[in-house]
Subunit: 582 residues, 2 copies
């Protein structure tokens, strides 16, 4: 039990059979084919040599297979994390290529340590501080930034910058470097890839092929594009026409090494590493949960933290870049029938073989092709619909989303995410600081009490019924106190106030003070304060104070009981209404 | 109407009669006698010349009388605000006395502008971000700091520092400066004042004197101490024995002037000014509300902001220090029968006469006496009981209180308050991020559903009833989703989950996503999700999304209705129980 808790692999390895191996092997083959161009492309996006992308797809997969809790999650380099890596490393490295590589490795190691630590301390909930609005604003902005940055390779124009404006400015400065041949290859690749994931996919879906195979062939688009454009650039001689190619990719496996510890570098990189960890984790765990649910498997978010942390540590020691669970490759892995994380180990083997023997084949691979695969991939990240839905559903969420989007595009990924999180927290506090309150009346013929503004109800001349739709805490305590006091004294003849507490989940010390003040102020005004339907936990807490002794009125189990006691006539009349009318 | 809104004085001045004048005049006389030593003492505490304390008790009272909404609040220099003033001015001035005075005036003006602006923008609620725990931790810490700082005058030892440690260190360095005569005067004054507010007060209470007069005579202790020790220092010749005296106090009224605007100074002082404004406002408004309630009068917190802002602007232009409503003097004013703010105007007149004609009388007043009055006054601020109550009532509030206390004592007033506010917000978010959840069962013989852990209830084998005691938002969305999912699938035979939403006051976009995921995950697991007792505002919001179409189950008006529909047998049996047993 405890072993499987710390090493989930111990669980599924028991009773691992031949069919499992067959299924995992098949899935691994498919994912490998898909992962090769992705690894090269995201290495390009992260600004590191292509082989580093391959390295990040070998040991990390094995590490995740041992410690992760998802059966089918496929980890490796992904677009958003690679973008954040490039931004952070570019900041610290300036122009120094060695320092840049050291920074990416440091980022992988630090976020690995952070993720493992969060997992051991069971801090998975910290990731929840990233609201979905902030994440979705961030993802859309990243998609735009990534696509924009790739025009560098697509048109042969050198671009630099971490914000949209910086990219636009540097593009304007280098228009002369435009290379028609490169643009041709890029445009062809983009169009082909769009065709492959659109019309071709629908075409294949109508064929008698099994769904997963049709899906796979559509997903194989990038591979086809790689082969086609490589042939065009090499044998086809486009490379001589100035089409930038990947060039010499050193073969062989990464030699595990620990970089020299650099406190200064750590000081500059801990924050980006933290954001990379959190965002990578949130993305990964949501994919894992979606897939796990389909087979009624469970995801332990703390095991996930340790699994992803181990993967990043493995990536770091093998000279790679930060990794996390990728959406599309995980879905392919799942659909292709992967049963256990061994599929990931087999995939790692496939990538290792590629790194050992096939790197020469990438020599003539045009960078424009990789850029095209990136752009087509990240276009799916851009989701304007999310903004429309947020606007319709909740202005506060829309605001947080927009602030994140603008922040990321205008000030870079870090500033944008931080601004978004701050905005989300602030808006939440602001909203809970002005709770919805309702004066209640009795629904005729029932024992239910509802908002006088929404329902035709019976109210008592002597008793004010109020409901506060919020936990009472310091940010809303005084406002609530004043609102109830004003409502109580604004009409003569009011002798009692009954506060319906069914929606009050906490009462903190400030709110307790306010309740005591309200009790005293109402007493001075000759009005008695009662409570009804106080929750168990809240009642336990109130009993640890002397409020209940000081309370001028009583605490009633149900609101109906309270009104029945304080104003029998009205209440009885209201309860009878139905019998009269029916 | 609109005139009295902006100028409350216009309201009560109408129909102001002779008895009003008599009552206000009497109260003013008493408050004046009380305010003179306080003004001198808090000037000493704030580190400014004594006459500045008098200036801060003239125009500000008139300004508040015009714009404030409380009939009986008495404004002027108070201990806590004077401490904050000294800390902030000391920071910027170093040793420069002129710069120090300029800083205190700037603090008064800036917090005046801030308060008026907050009042006009109706931002009174911002003050609610200071939770009562933070304030009470801050007040206790201030009391300790103030008392500690006054040993300087009480023992004749020069002390410097804004934290307890700094004060202790500087005391250790100057023990040789100890002056026996000064210590004698100080000790005598402290003992006398303690006797006056303790035994003497009880003694007077037993006499046939009217309560307010007895109260007044007890409150006159400081005046007696001033007179006694002044005679001892002057005619008694203690001044020659090295007892520090107030010395030459320039007579006359303040000449209203606006200091030259200094952006640099403003940059250093805006934060302390903001804290002074907020804390002064919170203290003042709670006193005003307590007193107003006794006469069924209302306090408009935005009018209070403008009133206090005007008072601080008036203090600034007359070369004074930041002011706010004082607790003890307001109570005396109220008990002595003040009816309208004109009592404040009369008091201002009294202080003005003092500043014009009586300042020579203060020449031989020992600083030790003023220090003694300060120490005895602030001892009432130190409230260990608050910590005990907080510990018993809520550990989170206790933590915020303790963090503020330690922060203020160890790092100064600003750092302490900011740390406390941050802690309070963080703890609130942390608590709402892990909501209380309960599996529910039907109370036999009723239509009520309660926590299975707290009550003997009937549960359905096919339907899981869950209640979440928190609004659903990004910080708790995923946790709630997982908890409900786990509870739903952890027992075979479960076909339905009904989520009782009576305690859910908001559902933000993240929580909506989680509900949709939960709905999908449960569907994949063959379980249907239903909602019951969804609040009006929440339902409105849900209807603006497409969640309700996607929901596999239904939305029931009452939880009973849900169970009656989904598992009639169990529900009917449970409802009948009573009839069977009775």
């Amino acid at each position: 039990m405890s072993l499987t808790r710390w090493l989930p692999a111990a669980g599924w390895l028991r009773g691992y059979g031949r069919e499992d191996a067959a299924a995992d092997g098949m899935a691994a083959l498919i994912v490998t084919i898909m992962l090769i161009p992705q690894s090269l492309a995201y290495a390009l996006l992260a600004g590191v040599p292509p082989q580093v992308g391959l390295y990040a797809s070998i040991l990390p997969l094995v590490a995740y297979a041992l410690f992760g809790s998802s059966r089918t999650l496929a980890v490796g380099p992904v677009a958003v994390v690679s973008l954040m890596t490039a931004a952070a490393a570019g900041q610290v490295a300036g122009g120094d290529a060695d320092l840049y590589l050291a920074a990416t490795v440091m980022l992988a190691l630090v976020s690995g340590v952070m993720l493992v630590a969060m997992g051991l301390l069971r801090l998975g909930w910290v990731a929840n501080l990233l609201s979905h609005s902030v994440i979705s604003g961030f993802i859309t902005a990243s998609g735009i930034l990534i696509a924009a940055s790739q025009f560098k390779h697509l048109l042969g124009i050198p671009l630099h910058g971490d914000t949209l404006w910086e990219l636009a400015a540097s593009a304007a400065g280098h228009l002369d470097a435009f290379n028609p041949a490169t643009a041709l290859v890029g445009a062809a690749a983009v169009l082909f890839l769009l065709w492959a994931r659109g019309p071709l996919k629908r075409l294949l879906a109508r064929t008698p092929l099994p769904a997963w195979l049709a899906e796979l062939l559509a997903k194989a688009g990038p591979v086809a594009a790689v082969i086609g454009t490589t042939l065009a650039a090499g044998p086809g001689g486009l490379a001589e026409r100035g089409v930038a190619i990947v060039g010499q990719v050193p073969g062989g496996l990464p030699s595990p090494t620990l970089p020299a510890f650099d406190a200064g570098l750590l000081g500059q990189l801990w924050l980006p590493a933290l954001l990379i960890s959190l965002i990578g984790f949130v993305e990964s765990v949501s994919v894992a949960q979606t897939l796990a649910a389909k087979r009624r498997q469970r995801i332990d978010s703390n095991a996930e933290l340790i699994g992803l942390g181990a993967a990043n540590l493995a990536s770091g020691v093998s000279g790679g870049i930060p990794v996390t669970g990728g959406f599309s490759r995980s879905v392919v892995n799942f659909d292709a029938g992967a049963r256990t994380p061994l599929a990931g180990v087999f995939t790692a083997g496939g990538i290792a073989l590629t790194a050992l023997f096939f790197t020469p084949w990438f020599h003539y691979l045009p960078k424009a092709t990789l850029a095209a695969t990136i752009i087509v991939a990240v276009l799916t990240l851009v989701d304007p619909g999310a903004f429309v839905r947020a606007w319709r559903y909740s202005k506060a969420d829309f605001a947080a989303m927009l602030i994140t989007l603008i922040g990321v595009l205008a000030a870079g990924v870090e500033a944008g995410v931080i601004a978004g999180v701050a905005a989300a927290l602030g808006l939440h506090l602001w909203r809970t600081s002005q709770p919805h309150m309702a004066e209640l009346g009795q629904m005729p013929g029932t024992e239910h009490f509802r908002n006088v503004r929404r329902h035709r109800v019976v109210t008592s001349p002597r008793v004010l019924s109020m409901r506060v739709d919020e936990s009472l805490y310091f940010a809303n305590a005084r406002r609530t106190e004043d609102a109830i006091y004003d409502a109580a004294i604004n009409r003569a003849g009011r002798r009692h106030v009954v506060l319906l507490c069914s929606a009050i989940n906490h009462i903190d010390a400030s709110a307790l003070d306010s309740l005591e003040t309200l009790n005293r102020r109402l007493a001075d005004a000759g009005v008695t304060l009662h409570l009804s339907e106080v929750k168990g936990p809240v009642m336990d807490q109130l009993q640890r104070s002397d409020f209940l002794e000081r309370l001028t009125g009583q605490v009633f189990l149900s609101h109906y009981q309270a009104l029945e006691t304080l104003d029998p006539e009205t209440t009885r009349r209201a309860s009878c209404k139905l019998k009269v009318t029916s």
